[in-house]
Homo-oligomer: 429 residues x 2
């Protein structure tokens, strides 16, 4: 029997990876709550039907779908928006509109693993349901910007490429392009930057359009279009418009978008989009079979591309280091220098932890030197030594190397105070 491995496309998060993931989670949550969003979560499994035709062909082709033992056709969720629409329409009477909801959790796509893509990934989803105004669109773009800034990713590192599907709907109507060509047309626009011009021209010709007229229209949109006026005024008032570029090539792959669409891109490394979203005014009605008509908009940010960008952005490192140090270590390490004092040492460990102090110790007899090594490897700021001096104990600041004898029954109060002092300051106030 060979050793077991992770299934292809899946990831193990060892403690250092998990701490980075937690930093990403905490930052997402903190910024979303600052915006008045509340968190929800759906099941990671849904009926496959929920995704068919709702999410578009690209996603349904990548579904992790199977039949459960009860014969149900179910899928690991490839995205969260259909779940959100299902939940929100089922209980919308219970919540005041607009509903500002966010979510953090795993999604799954069966695609070829590569840098920036794994089969299980984590998404942050933020949506505003029950409001059709551009104020909601602006609030979502602002949230996306502030999330990036909270990670230490600055104006020179990223941009929001923003458009609106309606400018293309209007264009296609003006040009009398029959509606059955619209989806094909949007997928041509989606790929226009990467495709060879002659291929794009040929594909366009089937819709009766020329590359020149499309390019001309795109240039006019990128220079400014009345559809963005109110969104722009809102974001300018927040001094956030500087992060936005109008870009008519942004149409988003998903079938359900109806209005504003945007993607967040890094500016230095040519990575895939860090986040993307838009307005989907018809999805709730579709999911609830016409029962609940709730105009909505939202965006999702994944952890994989974001993680790569964080690792490549020097300005993002300080926040990560600070968080990891706080999460991976302990504050104090109790050293049992004399096994006869293990009982009082255990009592002290318990008392310190009950007081909220992060404490570790050696659970079996160990040489004192080994115990101090463990204290250092766990980044403990203080060591407390239980030895011959008991009922007094040695309190050592492992950073400043100062030490003092303290009565064991005053240890909790003394250590709590000492933890409030500056790292290199006096050992005891």
């Amino acid at each position: 029997m060979a050793n077991f491995r992770t299934v292809k496309g899946f990831r193990d998060l060892f403690p250092e990876d998990c701490a980075l993931r937690n930093y990403i989670f905490d930052t997402w949550r903190q910024v979303a709550r600052r915006y008045g969003f509340v968190e929800y979560e759906g099941p990671v499994i849904e009926s496959t039907d929920l995704y068919k035709k709702k999410s578009g062909d690209e996603i349904t082709a990548q579904l992790f779908c199977f039949e459960d033992k009860g014969g149900r056709d179910i899928s690991l969720r490839p995205e969260v928006t259909p779940t959100l629409a299902r939940m929100a329409t089922a209980r919308q009477r219970d919540y005041k509109k607009p509903m500002k909801w966010f979510q953090v959790g795993s999604c799954f796509r069966y695609e070829e693993p590569q840098e920036g893509r794994s089969r299980e990934f984590i998404q942050f989803n933020a949506d505003i349901l029950g409001d059709a105004g551009q104020g909601s669109d602006a609030e979502l773009v602002a949230l996306a910007v502030d999330v990036m800034l909270a990670f230490g990713i600055k104006a020179e590192d990223f941009t929001i490429r923003l458009s609106n599907r309606q400018i293309w709907t209007q264009f296609l109507m003006e040009k009398n392009v029959p509606e059955e060509h619209w989806t094909t047309f949007l997928s041509i626009i989606d790929k226009i930057e990467r495709a060879r011009p002659e291929d794009t021209a040929e594909k366009l010709s089937k819709t009766g359009l020329t590359l020149e007229e499309v390019r001309g229209f795109m240039a006019s949109v990128d220079g400014g279009h009345p559809i963005f006026a109110s969104l722009r005024a809102d974001l300018e008032a927040r001094d956030l418009w500087k992060y936005v570029r109008i870009d008519a090539t942004i149409v988003r792959g998903l079938a359900y978008y109806t209005g504003m669409v945007f993607e967040v891109f890094d500016l230095k490394h040519g990575l895939r989009a860090v986040a993307g979203g838009g307005r989907y005014d018809k999805l709730c009605a579709l999911i609830s079979d016409g029962g609940v008509d709730m105009p909505s908009a939202g965006f999702a940010m994944g952890d994989v591309v974001l993680g790569i960008l964080l690792s490549k952005t020097p300005g993002a490192q300080m926040g990560i280091t600070e968080y990891l140090n706080a999460q991976m270590g302990v504050e104090a390490y109790v050293v049992v220098a004399d096994e006869a004092q293990r009982g009082p040492a255990l009592a002290a460990v318990q008392a310190l932890r009950s007081a909220g102090v992060k404490v570790d110790f050696s659970m079996s007899a160990q040489k004192v030197g080994k115990q101090f090594q463990a204290a250092e490897s766990q980044k403990a700021r203080f060591a407390v030594v239980f030895g011959a001096e008991y009922p007094q104990v040695q309190l050592k600041n492992l950073v400043s190397r100062e030490q003092a004898l303290v009565a064991a029954d005053a240890l909790v109060a003394t250590l709590q105070e000492a933890l409030k002092l500056p790292v290199m300051g006096p050992l005891i106030a």
Copy 2:
């Protein structure tokens, strides 16, 4: 087309449910970190082989298993210990022993949904790898106790029922019961409290034992057994032994336990076990095909039974209420009383949020009364009104009903100070 529903056995977490889940997550993480545990996470999908014969028949019968598009036989994880053993043995050279690792995430079992059981549930797993001593066993029991206490579940509400599989191994050897009957025997002991005595006696007779000798032995163990001496001394030093009852009927269903085993039970409501675990000294060697021999122990606590117990325990409510209020609301609500001031109001919203204040506002024009209603429903402590007085704004304490005029450009500093004052104290220091 009918409305979509959750797949049978799966749960939606609406914001109020999700806040409770987050309270449970945060409490688990906080206590585990206080004990010096570090967090890891594995994939929710593993090769089905990883569970076959490792977890025991009960779990493999309930596997959510399927074939992926690449023909792999994979399963949604029913528990996390095999993943942990796979990860830890693969990278054990990189970590100092003992490794104190914890995890929080979804698991899946295909069993009939009922109170206390759903097909997707969340587990907290805490394990100590690379240490064979009873000091590790004690550390895990202590962690389980402190987690319960951190939830406001007290000595009168729960107990730890603890045993050791070796007492049965010794008993079976003394009684010359052939090894092929041991698994059957342990499953008889596992059910002895619920089964009819005559059925138990009949089953036991096939192993050559009588109910009387088994009962006699159990009574002697429950009164005290030398195998528990060191664990007991450790937990007595921490003043935690009072939460423990020796109970020889605890054997745990999983196949891989080799020593100490325990379960956490509520004392008032007869619920299923809240948590359970034990020592599994051979699992790492089994998973790594003999490559890494790493004695280990751990326990898991699920969110479902714990959630029911929390809802039935009055002492647990205060912590929940406090957490939910902090998580579900905002600190300030910006009221746009005059749409001409929307620009400065948006600038203030942005400045407050950038300063870390949780702020909401109406994203479209609304009557002032409606905006105040929204402020109250979001539990905002302060309202800031942008109206005719601009560039001054009204700062209102929505709890004490006091109010004051503040210069808009002093708003951030003033509100940050006001948020530090007692809720019913003066509006401005």
